[in-house]
Symmetry: C2
Subunit: 255 residues, 2 copies
């Protein structure tokens, strides 16, 4: 049996009662911080919270050597703790599929995800988000154009774009992400919202033109970014004014 | 102080430790089942779980008469429990905005949402979802064409569409929703995935052409629907085969 338990957004107390009980019943408990990171906790704190030994899975344990976990789950009751909601990361669905193919029963205990949390923090309407993308650190000096392609496709259907920021080798800041986007295309006059430390007791949410957001200080990670659609619902505008200190001129996007 | 606490997807044990602690500290606790419903619990069960009196908010308490809650939150520590993650429903962000405007401090304790859970249940990739929409019960014999417009816009950027199903006066079934979509446009050859009872221990997930899905039995509510993009990642196809009993012919969507 292989159970994926979502830890939610910030620290060990974001897990659900159901998730806690699954860990208590498990023969073996793993956690992975490869697909995302919980900034408010550590393996030590998690172990002490659950009263169990918890082993960290590295990237290779989840990918090339995932068969080891699957083998173990054929005999034991294995739990994998993941940041956010499991399966938003495609690494998890690949592992779930591999396990099921080998005859291992799998289940998911859902956790809070940035995918929905971003609506609460910004006031942006969930139904107005289009496809999402990841802004990656340059590789051998080259930057991926995918995020801009996705932003433009979303603009074509008047949708917002949620951009995940690369975590490896270290978590990317909103400022770094905006610089990368501007290298691909001059979108400095477009509006975006930067969100830092979602799920913590001191999240920061700021909305402005990209050219201005570039110079804001968002503090410690994790950061995430929303590039706004070309129009806003008036309630979205009102929320961004109040929750994200958006400038008055944002009002012209209201349709 | 006004705190929104997400209850997650199914029953009282889907709440996080942080959410539980917020309820314990509250002077007044409300719950609303207007924007969604937790099928696995009841007010009685919630009250007994939290060891507190919990009062049900009706639609009018959240909308026309929301000022009453805001007034109360000026003096007391008020918690509103909501299904899923708060703020995915726009009703909540309107209330949060109103409270902040009146000088009430607000905060959100996030919960698991169908928005991310649908990825785990289907294996569909989160970043490939476009805008979402709601399929509403016909009003005076007329059906809203919005869901089809959104599906077509999403198809234009090769994105999946998550469709919420109307809850009032009673939760719509996948079959009813498909019939409504087919009245607007003949999309019976397109592929969709029906999901019933997400977050429970016996969710049902089935993928097929809409014309065939129409005759499947999904059992008890809540139901939700994903209309697939015109292409699939091969891992999405493999997951749908394994998790949603998709037909072999779905393979031709893999690009």
């Amino acid at each position: 049996m292989l159970t994926f338990v979502g830890l939610g957004l910030w620290d060990e107390r974001d897990v659900s009662f159901k998730g806690y009980e699954a860990v208590k019943k498990a023969d073996k408990v793993y956690v992975e911080f490869y697909t995302s990171i919980l900034m408010g906790t550590s393996i030590k704190k998690l172990s002490s919270f659950f009263g169990k030994e918890i082993k960290l899975l590295e990237r290779k344990d989840l990918e090339e050597e995932s068969w080891k976990i699957v083998e173990e789950a054929l005999k034991l009751n294995v739990v994998i703790l993941t940041p956010g909601d499991p399966m938003v990361a495609t690494t998890h669905s690949a592992l779930k599929l591999e396990a099921e193919k080998k005859g291992v029963k799998t289940s998911i205990i859902h956790g809070a995800s940035i995918v929905s949390a971003v609506c609460g923090l910004t006031g942006l309407h969930n139904y107005r988000f289009g496809k999402s993308a990841t802004v990656s650190h340059p590789y051998k000096g080259k930057v991926s154009i995918t995020p801009i392609e996705i932003i433009e496709r979303n603009w074509s259907i008047d949708a917002h774009t949620l951009l995940y920021l690369d975590l490896h080798p270290k978590p990317m800041s909103i400022n770094e992400a905006l610089e990368i986007l501007l290298k691909i295309k001059d979108i400095k006059d477009s509006f975006a919202v930067g969100i830092a430390r979602a799920g913590s007791s001191n999240p920061i949410v700021k909305c402005n033109r990209i050219g201005k957001l570039l110079h804001e200080n968002f503090g410690k990670p994790l950061h995430i970014l929303v590039v706004l659609a070309k129009t806003l619902h008036f309630m979205e505008f009102e929320c961004l004014r109040k929750f994200a200190n958006a400038p008055d001129e944002l009002e012209k996007l209201v349709n």
